[in-house]
């Protein structure tokens, strides 16, 4: 912070600084718990379950990373390099699984593949087998979880790899062919190594999402950090130990965040050629075309079509009050909180990006990326930090107001803001980048600055970016489970919470309506992304 920054305070400087303090405080509070006392619960965790949390998390991350890497990069390569039957549809359909949160895929997987699940029932009916015959293996284990995560998260790698492959020179692959390499070896030896930084960036997103998840691992009863934090808090009623556990997970996440950031920067620098020399696709016919189609269709089938079919079956076959009163209350709660969070988040991101542009203060430019770190932080950790922060504030500042912050909607709203700021920021930042600075110069010389400039020039020109930001944040908020579960005020249920509660009680058919609503809302950013895919060769910044 330089001297000039301190000397000339204004709203444009105070807002980003204040936002930075508010966004970072819950994380700092969580990390500071490591310096406090360690209770008997910690000793118990350390002696008996911490090892399981670590090994399970590592195994999960390795499995999910490997499978999503294979699916994401190979489908991106096939889509970019070959022209085959159905390619135009598969190109955008491959990102559809992003609309399904891992916990919903986990619920549908158990509905499909349990002993008396619809998939096993179908096989028994088809081959007229005995009712005790089980064809599909049990999915309620870590292998099932790996499949669930891999098939919902591979689109992160697909999107980033596809953008990188599009920018690869055709000359390079032609040279590989002249040197005797076949299609597969060109992919392994040339294509993949050249986009390594981009792939690592996508992989880090997949890993962070896997480590952040609570709903799917909880449903499959796998002991990981997130389930451990939840049980320590709600089972042992020990928030301090839960925070210490959360700190360990946060440290892991920080490492992956740093790797993701640096890989993303390298990905930009390593773009080997301009678009002018980019690849064109090779036409395939017959069995090769069919194989490519099947290869790209399977991830979509497992990650999107299958869960949608199962959810629809639950909803329509067992019609247990699809549109009952509680559904509408939950939908209203979800819509209102998501709308509120998305508008506040977009306004903050818009104002902060304007501040950075308008004041040209280097300190503001430097803190802006830090405001986005929340996207990688598990909702559970944010919830833990926010609860502790609000407890401090209620006990220290709002004494006599009977816990005005703790248990209120503020906490939930704050968690959504911290978690979704990156989405708003990336959308609005790129919107601002498209506006020439000369417009600002002209406006300022014409006596327009500050709010006047923001409202008369930037706001009308940024409407599309602002709307996109609102939609992206809304869809993210609708899906968010762990933070909502912990921070929601008493009797305030959302679609995600209700899906979780129904699934936890094994009332899967009743979980169908809120789950379908979540998926439908989750499709909004997918539609936006598919539009981007059609035109842009840049990687759409996802989260």
């Amino acid at each position: 912070m330089n001297y000039l920054y301190l000397r000339t305070f204004s709203f444009w400087k105070i807002l980003p600084t204040l936002t930075f303090v508010v966004f970072v405080s819950p994380l700092v509070i969580v990390l500071l718990s490591l310096t406090g006392d360690y209770s008997d619960n910690w000793t118990h965790l350390y002696n008996f379950v911490l090892g399981d949390y670590i090994t399970n998390s590592i195994f999960l991350v390795l499995g999910v990373g490997l499978i999503s890497l294979i699916i994401g990069t190979s489908s991106a390569w096939i889509i970019t390099k070959y022209d085959f039957f159905g390619r135009r549809i598969l190109e955008w359909a491959l990102i559809l699984p992003l609309a399904i949160p891992p916990y919903i895929l986990a619920y549908t997987f158990t509905g499909l593949f349990d002993d008396y699940g619809s998939a096993n029932e179908f096989i028994r009916w088809m081959f007229n087998l005995d009712s005790s015959f089980v064809f599909f293996p049990n999915v309620r284990n870590i292998f099932g979880a790996i499949i669930v995560f891999a098939f919902t998260l591979y689109p992160y790698i697909y999107l980033i790899s596809r953008a990188a492959f599009l920018n690869q020179s055709k000359t390079l692959t032609d040279t590989g062919r002249i040197l005797g390499l076949g299609g597969y070896r060109i992919f392994i030896n040339l294509g993949l190594p050249m986009i390594r930084p981009a792939v690592i960036a996508g992989l880090m997103l997949v890993i962070m999402e896997t480590l952040s998840d609570f709903g799917a691992v909880d449903h499959f009863a796998i002991q990981t950090f997130t389930t451990g934090i939840f049980r320590t808090w709600y089972g042992m009623y020990d928030l301090h130990t839960a925070m210490q556990l959360a700190s360990l997970l946060l440290l892991f996440i920080i490492v992956f965040l740093v790797l993701e950031r640096s890989s993303r920067m390298n990905a930009a620098y390593n773009s080997p050629v301009s678009n002018a020399n980019s690849s064109s696709s090779e036409k395939l016919n017959g069995s090769k075309s069919f194989l490519c189609f099947i290869g790209c269709f399977i991830p979509i089938f497992i990650g999107f079509i299958l869960p949608i079919l199962e959810l629809s079956r639950w909803a329509f076959t067992y019609n247990t009050g699809f549109f009952n009163e509680s559904f509408f209350i939950q939908a209203k709660n979800t819509f209102l909180i998501a709308l509120m969070a998305s508008i506040v988040c977009t306004v903050i991101a818009f104002t902060i990006n304007f501040s950075v542009r308008h004041t040209k203060v280097i300190f503001l430019k430097r803190i802006n990326p830090f405001l986005s770190v929340g996207y990688g932080v598990p909702g559970l950790i944010l919830a833990v930090g926010i609860v502790q922060m609000f407890t401090y504030l209620d006990k220290g500042i709002f004494v006599g107001f009977d816990f005005v912050l703790t248990g209120s909607l503020f906490g939930l709203l704050l968690a959504y803001l911290i978690k979704s700021y990156a989405l708003s920021n990336s959308t609005i930042e790129s919107g601002f980048e498209r506006l020439s600075n000369k417009l600002d110069d002209s406006a300022r010389v014409l006596k327009s600055s500050g709010w006047n400039l923001l409202l008369r020039v930037h706001f009308p020109l940024m409407k599309t970016s602002l709307l996109t930001s609102i939609l992206l944040v809304m869809s993210e908020v609708v899906k968010e489970l762990p933070a909502t579960l912990i921070l929601r005020p008493f009797n305030f249920d959302t679609l995600a919470v209700s899906t979780y509660i129904y699934a936890a009680e094994e009332r899967m058919f009743e979980a169908a309506s809120p789950a379908i609503a979540i998926v439908v809302i989750g499709l909004i950013p997918i539609i936006i992304l598919t539009r981007m895919i059609k035109d842009s060769k840049d990687t759409p910044y996802l989260k």
Partner: protein, 214 residues
């Protein structure tokens, strides 16, 4: 009207682009500054406008200090007009709304706008948007928008360089007439010697980060 004294400027980690430069411009004078790309002429204009903060020196506009070691008046408070090469018209506003952007809403606003629309022969375009009009018409709009605010100094940064020769000549004649009619003080930055000699009372050239009158 404009007095620049011992002005120096450099961009971060770069050599000086302006070094101990001084200049005086009288009311109603049209001054041209010539020089190749990157010599510092646009920087000088941006510094006068307040869009760039110089290293040191003093700038006075209409006897009022707008910059020295302790004062730095913001661009919106300097009462200047600025027209740049790519016009920077607001794309979401019509020609009419672009023109009235910098003036206060009052009874005279409409009358003033009509006057400038007529003066620059763009009254028939007032409801059109910048992308719907030609390059020359965009430049007329940009000039009208800058002059309607009655600026103390009009800063022009290569305003005609994107136009073809015929259009440029036509606009030269008309704008010079308007500058004289309105008794405007103009600082014109250009790389076109014929343009500078056509418009200006005095012509300066950038040499060794300073201005040399020619």
């Amino acid at each position: 009207m404009l007095r620049i004294k011992s002005l120096s400027h450099r961009y971060e980690n770069e050599n000086l682009v302006i070094d101990d430069l001084s200049l005086e411009v009288n009311k109603g004078e049209i001054i041209s500054i010539l020089g190749p790309s990157g010599c510092g002429k646009t920087s000088l204009l941006r510094i006068v406008a307040g869009l760039e903060k110089p290293l040191k020196g003093e700038i006075k506009i209409d006897k009022k200090i707008v910059f020295n070691q302790t004062i730095n008046i913001l661009p919106e408070k300097r009462n200047l007009g600025l027209v740049v090469e790519d016009k920077a018209l607001f794309p979401h506003l019509s020609v009419y709304k672009n023109i009235i952007f910098g003036i206060r809403k009052n009874k005279q606003q409409k009358q003033l706008a009509e006057e400038f629309l007529n003066l620059f022969k763009i009254e028939h375009l007032k409801d059109k948007f910048p992308h719907e009009i030609s390059s020359g018409e965009q430049q007329r709009t940009a000039l009208a928008r800058a002059i309607i605010t009655n600026p103390d100094i009009l800063l022009l940064d290569e305003p005609f360089s994107a136009l073809d020769k015929e259009l440029k000549n036509e606009l030269h004649e008309e704008t010079k007439k308007i500058f004289i009619e309105k008794n405007l003080t103009v600082l014109l930055v250009t790389h076109d010697e014929s343009e500078s000699s056509f418009f200006s009372n005095r012509v300066f050239k950038f040499k060794d980060q300073k201005l040399l009158e020619i």
